[in-house]
């Protein structure tokens, strides 16, 4: 059973190939292929999960792809509890998103291609989580990046969409550069790329010290890019140009989770190297803070959710950096469900009112009951309210910061902001008086293909996290662990503080946006400079534009000028020289060579025209010459 787990990614790949080559004209069949593939994958993943619960593994299956003598490149699967969790997350969220897309993308001219891309993405993500060595994970890493690009820029007629796709690809690629360097350093130190062998070398101390720290930091660069951590977080908000289901799948639940997954998979490195681990944690919390603060003041519904994603990812990274494998991955799982739900619900709203701007919404709760209810559920979950999933996972994370007071304070601050902006979003969208009556009139609840996934994900948002309840004998922490299974301890004080923080965030949002007791505009006025800074996302895009993009363009312009003038100049110069040379040769040929030839002819003709007078035709002249010749011969003899 486990041996055949490769079927799970193979099915979406087959669906992709079939759609692309055969069925893309038939929308229904294409969608059916894609959804069918992922559902079967989900069904297959369940027994895989149970098998792994029974036997934690790790189970490794591989075959050698290329043999280089001293090492060999493998294609293989590594199955352990983390893999099982990721498989479930990916297949569930992917299924929900694909079913939802039936309704959302209805009528789009490139419907089949959309499902082909989704299948390709699903294949890439599943392959990524099953990989057993750095090379393979990198290949799938890049595939995931490719499909993300394709899907972000799906509506490429819009310039902002195609620009966003490019931005995403380039930014993640920058991170991947560090990733490659990390892989090379690992290979240099270990002579192998297989995860198991590398971890063994780390534990036995062969791979250690500065080299290990450097490798760890570089490997983390990949995660920084892919999971949109500071300073490579700038692509994620722009990626909202893609269709909302894409945002839900890729930029909330799965692809961005790949970075977190990577850090989790190679946590051995960060546990062994204190410095690298601390770097990871610092970047995580920094990202979390920056993103949460920006999300406070955004008006685009998807942007708020995007910054929320970045912030929550930062949470997970921080937890992993501080050494808590369980907390980071647990939050990854719960976050996938409620963030996917949030995005899909937002998509439902956008589908209804045809705008992303929350300032044009309001009071939609009356018209879109299911959407509103599910969104509120997800918001409670993300705010960490007992007894929803988010409460348990967030509690684990805060617990992980226990030995580091600074981190704890900052994490709680982030929790406050998270709760605040999520409920700001909910109140602005679903409550109050409609700010745009025209749009309000046209709003309606979404079709069933869209609402059923919402409901299912809402269910998961509430209950999926219950597997991590600390009092369970065989809970999450005894399944997904690093080193030894442990039973999570429950700290009432920590839980109580985080719950309080979440509730106060909700309360503030309630006051400002529901009751309107505190006016948001006045607050903005009082903190105008801060507000402007946050509204403009700390001017990161402008900074990158000035420091990186513009100089790059200038360099390109320079090389263009160089190519046009100098290289082409050389080429043209060579051509001109050749031309002059040929002109000179032509002159030479005409004047000198032809001159010589013609001159010879002229000379002969001239001589002939003179000599011909010897042919007088008269006999006596000839006789004279003959005798003169005889005399000459006499003379000479």
């Amino acid at each position: 059973m486990l041996y055949n787990a490769w079927i799970i990614p193979a099915l979406p790949l087959a669906a992709f190939a079939l759609i692309v080559f055969f069925t893309h004209r038939n929308r229904a069949v294409s969608a059916a292929l894609s959804i069918g593939a992922i559902l079967i994958g989900f069904v297959y993943a369940i027994p895989v999960l149970f098998q792994l619960i029974h036997n934690h593994g790790p189970h490794e299956f591989y075959f050698t792809w290329l043999d280089f003598g001293t090492w060999h490149l493998q294609i293989g699967m590594l199955l352990d509890p983390l893999t099982a969790v990721m498989l479930m997350v990916v297949t569930i969220v992917s299924s929900c998103v694909q079913i939802y897309s039936l309704g959302y993308m209805h009528g789009d001219p490139r419907f089949s291609r959309y499902f082909a891309y989704l299948s390709l993405f699903t294949f890439s993500m599943l392959g990524l989580v099953l990989s057993n060595n750095f090379a393979m994970i990198f290949i799938f890493w890049e595939l995931v990046g490719l499909t993300s690009y394709l899907l972000i820029g799906f509506w490429f007629e819009k310039k902002s969409a195609s620009d966003a796709g490019k931005k995403a690809f380039i930014t993640t690629r920058t991170g991947d550069l560090g990733f490659i360097i990390g892989i090379l350093l690992t290979f240099y130190a270990c002579g192998t790329l297989n995860f198991g062998e590398v971890f063994t070398k780390i534990e036995t101390g062969i791979f250690a010290g500065g080299l290990l720290t450097a490798a760890g930091i570089f490997l983390f660069c990949g995660a920084v890019g892919k999971s949109a951590q500071f300073p490579l977080h700038v692509w994620l908000p722009d990626a909202m140009e893609g269709p909302t289901p894409v945002s839900a799948l890729i930029h909330a639940a799965t692809m961005v989770a790949a970075g977190v997954y990577l850090v989790a998979r190679i946590l051995t490195v960060y546990l062994a190297s204190e410095t690298a681990g601390m770097v990871v944690a610092v970047i995580g919390i920094t990202t979390s803070l920056i993103a949460a603060s920006i999300g406070l003041v955004q008006n685009d519904i998807k942007r708020v959710l995007a910054y929320s994603t970045v912030s929550q990812l930062g949470y997970m990274i921080m937890a992993l950096g501080l050494g808590s494998f369980t907390a980071g991955t647990f939050h990854l799982m719960t976050h996938a469900f409620f963030k996917a739900l949030l995005f899909l619900a937002a998509g439902s709203v956008i589908h209804a009112v045809h705008t992303n701007d929350m300032q044009e919404m309001g009071g939609l709760g009356r018209k879109m009951k299911i959407t509103a209810v599910t969104m509120f559920i997800a918001s409670f979950s993300i705010a960490g309210i007992f007894p929803l999933s988010g409460f348990w996972s967030k509690d684990e994370i805060v617990a992980a910061t226990m030995g580091h007071p600074v981190f704890m304070v900052l994490a709680l601050g982030v929790a406050f902001m998270t709760a605040f902006y999520m409920f700001r979003l909910c109140f602005l969208t679903f409550t109050g008086t409609p700010r745009d009556p025209h749009k309000f009139d046209h709003a309606h609840e979404s079709p069933r293909t869209m609402t059923y996934p919402l409901l299912f994900l809402a269910f998961l948002s509430v209950f999926a996290g219950w597997v991590g309840i600390p009092w369970l004998p065989h809970g999450y922490s005894s399944f997904v662990y690093h080193g030894e299974p442990h039973h999570a301890a429950f700290h009432f004080d920590i839980a109580g503080i985080s719950l309080l923080v979440g509730l106060s965030g909700i309360a503030l949002a309630y006051l400002m946006y529901y009751r309107r007791s505190i006016s948001p505009d006045k607050v903005a006025e009082r903190f105008r400079p801060l507000y402007t800074l946050l509204y403009h996302k700390y001017y990161f895009d402008e900074l990158y534009d000035a420091v990186i993009v513009r100089p790059l363009y200038a360099i390109c312009d320079f090389w263009f000028w160089f190519d046009q003038h100098i290289i082409d100049g050389l080429v043209n110069g060579a051509a001109t020289l050749t031309l002059w040379w040929s002109i000179a040769k032509n002159w030479f040929d005409v004047k000198v060579v032809d001159g010589a030839v013609n001159g010879a002819a002229y000379t002969i003709r001239g001589t002939g025209s003179i000599l011909r007078f010897a042919q007088t035709g008269r006999l006596q002249n000839y006789a004279l010459i003959i005798f003169a010749g005889v005399i000459l011969i006499w003379f000479l003899r």
Partner: protein, 166 residues
């Protein structure tokens, strides 16, 4: 001129006649005068033959050369009188170069022949050359004799053919 015998005097007179006649033949403005001088020259040559004991040859010379060829020349002169004024040049434009060439030619001949030792035989010639020549003609030289007769025939026919009016 140390030898003043009759032989040498005769020789010198005859040679003078020949040379003078020749010069006047080639340089005479009037064509008829040239012909007459040619006859005079030919007679003198016949006389020279007599000096050389070639009696038959001298007779033949007079008979044929003077009697036929020279007559023919005179006939030709008469028949081809050109009705032009007499002041035409009688020599062409290459007279002086021809003179030079002839001078050199003569110089070479003289120079070549002067010291050449010919095998002179001090013997007498046969007195009756007619008989001797006739015998030779019929014995040793019969082939040239016949060929020459053919030649004469051809010349005869040819002259008639060429010159007849058609």
């Amino acid at each position: 001129m140390t030898d003043v015998s009759l032989t040498s005097v005769t020789f010198y007179i005859l040679s003078f006649c020949i040379i003078a006649g020749g010069i006047f033949t080639v340089s005479s403005r009037n064509l008829f005068h040239s012909a007459v001088f040619l006859v005079f020259t030919l007679f003198s040559v016949a006389g020279m033959f007599v000096m050389l004991n070639a009696y038959l040859l001298a007779a033949i010379q007079v008979l044929i050369y003077v009697g036929a060829v020279a007559m023919l020349m005179i006939f030709g002169v008469m028949l081809t009188t050109q009705l032009t004024n007499v002041r035409l040049r009688h020599v062409n434009e290459q007279a002086w170069p021809a003179l030079a060439v002839c001078g050199f030619f003569l110089a070479f001949i003289v120079y070549g022949l002067w010291d050449t030792p010919f095998q002179v035989v001090k013997a007498d010639a046969p007195v009756n050359t007619s008989h001797a020549l006739g015998t030779l003609l019929m014995t040793k030289y019969v082939l040239p004799f016949e060929v020459v007769s053919l030649l004469l025939l051809a010349a005869l026919v040819g002259a008639v053919v060429i010159a007849k009016k058609d």
